[in-house]
């Protein structure tokens, strides 16, 4: 394997409005290596889900390029696109809505197999579905059941089995554990890690939950209002966040430890609407260290050492005000 499995350059999505447009995603670039987990984190409206959808062309980008395995993914024709989709699958947040309520588990999991004609016979199809269900910790007795007969965690396992069916190399997981209870969430996170080890899967893991991201991701990309503000390995990003937004995000996450009365960076104000973004650095109106330059010019994503990059005019780890 020479290049990255997935390479995204200047990915942009603008949604037209009656007046102006929403820059949902604004020039996002990153790579994902085979077998690696890249987390996309940020708050609602930051464009992380739209980015995830564009990776699979569920939403068409306005600009930018996506290369999968070195091949231009956006230029693919219909037939070639469908073939490529075998190799990249998606798992959604809401396991109640992402499984067709009228289908039985067997047909849900077998859908990618059917579409790509991957099974010779009905017997082979059933055998493969049972194998997939076993992989995600479900039993063959569940084959003939409907989604509503399962709990949220079990449904998410079914969704993962479906994603695994065509033996993909990349899975985009859009908030896959956010709708689940804590104890079940841990089960699904462990399952995803086991599967990654077993099959060498790459994940793009979209989440707002920093603790889960810290656990599962190899690298983390932080988004704010459509732009990437920081990207680096999980270790460096959590131990030495360079962007003030990343720092605020980390300090705001509630920690289940009452002994630790942390000093929070409580950001003033709300996330501005993506339809009306601030000039310069998008974060400047809420930034505790903003200067005049932040209003005027957009900071580039600069290397701050060891491939860790941050889009801040003041590219150094700021001391978190205590």
């Amino acid at each position: 394997m020479t290049g990255p499995l997935l390479s995204v350059q200047g990915l942009t999505k603008h949604f037209p409005l009656k007046t102006g447009q929403v820059k949902a995603v604004d020039g996002v670039s990153f790579d994902v290596a085979a077998g690696e987990t890249l987390a996309l984190v940020g708050e609602s409206g930051c464009g992380k889900s739209t980015t995830g959808r564009m990776l699979l062309r569920l939403t068409d980008p306005t600009a930018g390029s996506i290369a999968f395995d070195g091949e231009d993914f956006l230029g693919l024709g219909r037939a070639a696109l469908r073939r490529r989709r075998r190799e990249m699958q998606i798992v959604f947040q809401d396991p109640y809505a992402s499984l067709s309520p009228r289908n039985r588990v067997e047909d849900i999991v077998a859908e990618p197999l059917d579409v790509h004609g991957l099974c010779e016979s009905r017997a082979a199809r059933r055998e493969r579905v049972i194998e997939l269900l076993r992989l995600v910790g479900l039993d063959a007795i569940h084959l003939r059941r409907h989604p509503f007969e399962f709990s949220g965690g079990q449904r998410q396992r079914i969704a993962i089995a479906r994603a695994l069916a065509p033996q993909p190399r990349l899975i985009v997981a859009d908030e896959p554990v956010s709708a689940l209870d804590v104890s079940v969430q841990a089960q699904v996170v462990n399952l995803m890690q086991d599967l990654q080890e077993k099959f060498g899967l790459a994940y793009v893991f979209i989440s707002h939950d920093l603790a889960v991201v810290r656990h599962i991701a190899h690298r983390v990309a932080v988004m704010y209002l459509g732009r990437l503000v920081e990207i680096g390995t999980t270790e460096t990003l959590f131990s030495a966040p360079h962007h003030p937004y990343t720092q605020a995000l980390l300090s705001a996450a509630p920690v289940p430890d009452p002994e630790r009365k942390r000093t929070r960076i409580v950001l003033a104000g709300d996330v501005p609407s993506p339809a009306n973004v601030p000039s310069g650095c998008h974060f400047h109106p809420r930034c505790p260290v903003a200067q005049a330059i932040c209003r005027e010019s957009v900071p580039a994503l600069r290397d701050v050492g060891g491939g860790h990059r941050a889009a801040c005019h003041f590219g150094k780890p700021f001391p978190i005000p205590v």
Partner: protein
């Protein structure tokens, strides 16, 4: 006398498929100016417990079959509808997960708060409006005059939740029930709302019952915690005690399954299995099929809630 004393509360759902014991023998109390967190996973009965406190449970199918809920000495369970109405929104207020459920889209925020005030106080329109602007200011909304004249959809999620909290506090209730008040909000906004609730509790001395699945929020805000599992209260403890030394295996499992922000575990601890379906509860302790420490007695007899020291009560035959 405590502000709120709940004793042996049982709420059952009478459905076509049989009786579901949604809340089965819950007891706790909240002192004035203190906060209690009710934590548990979906279906554990925490929301049903919260709704019972104001008798807001959907009847039918739900019914309070036994127990008492004493608010300021008065039993809510046997209270007359008139008395109940006078209490709701006035002495006990509630905020929900989704602020939009408490706001009517066709009225301005100020009108709705003023309306809530006039429901319980014989204020003039202008006095009620002044009060509305005042509480918007109290909950930290910049430019409360303008926001009072805004419609809910013109506000961001965080602002709406502030407005809803303001509306709940408008009549200076003694008790505030908050059902997942920050779950729908972004992390940075959640931090703002938690700060706000903490500040208001200190300033106004309101008792708070906070329902959440988020152990981080619990650790952040409350004084005492009850942990619920499958309709049962499994553990009750002061917050520090609970996080430092959980006594019920379920509490312990729950705490360990939360990934940490500081260290990276190789593998997350989990609680195997899933919550049993409501109409097929196991005999004995309801947690026994998922408990690694279950013994014979756990399959046979329900453990009573007993004092296990350090201010902790646990319903377990073999507390940790």
């Amino acid at each position: 006398m405590s502000l709120l004393e709940v004793d042996d509360l049982r709420v059952h759902l009478f459905t076509d498929r049989g009786v579901v014991k949604a809340v089965d023998g819950v007891q706790f109390s909240v002192e004035a100016g203190r906060s209690l967190g009710i934590v548990g996973e979906s279906g554990c009965g925490k929301t049903m417990t919260a709704l019972s406190l104001m008798r807001l449970i959907p009847e039918p199918p739900a019914r309070i079959v036994s127990g008492s809920i004493r608010f300021d000495g008065e039993d809510v369970v046997t209270m007359s509808p008139d008395r109940l109405r006078a209490l709701r929104g006035n002495q006990i207020a509630m905020i929900y997960q989704d602020p939009m459920t408490s706001l009517n889209p066709v009225f301005t925020v100020g009108e709705q708060i003023a309306e809530a005030v006039r429901l319980h106080r014989r204020d003039t329109r202008s006095a009620a409006w002044t009060r509305a602007v005042e509480v918007l200011h109290l909950v930290g909304i910049p430019d409360p005059d303008r926001v009072a004249r805004a419609y809910p959809h013109q506000l961001s999620g965080g602002m709406r939740q502030r407005a809803v909290i303001g509306m709940a506090l408008a009549c200076e209730p003694k008790l505030l029930i908050a059902d997942e008040p920050t779950t729908a909000l972004d992390v940075t906004i959640q931090a703002q709302i938690l700060e706000l609730l903490r500040r208001l509790q200190g300033e106004l001395g309101t008792g708070i019952v906070l329902i959440t699945h988020d152990l981080g929020v619990i650790a952040d805000l409350v004084d005492d915690v009850i942990v619920m599992y499958a309709g049962k209260l499994v553990e009750r403890a002061p917050v520090r005690q609970l996080f430092a030394a959980p006594r019920h295996p379920y509490t312990s499992g729950l705490l360990r399954s939360v990934p940490s922000l500081d260290i990276r575990e190789r593998r997350l601890a989990t609680i195997d299995g899933t919550v049993p379906p409501a109409h097929a509860m196991p005999n004995g302790c309801r947690f026994n099929p998922r408990c690694t420490l279950a013994r014979d007695i756990c399959h046979e007899q329900e453990p009573p809630l007993v004092d296990v020291g350090n201010g902790t009560m646990a319903a377990c035959w073999a507390p940790l």
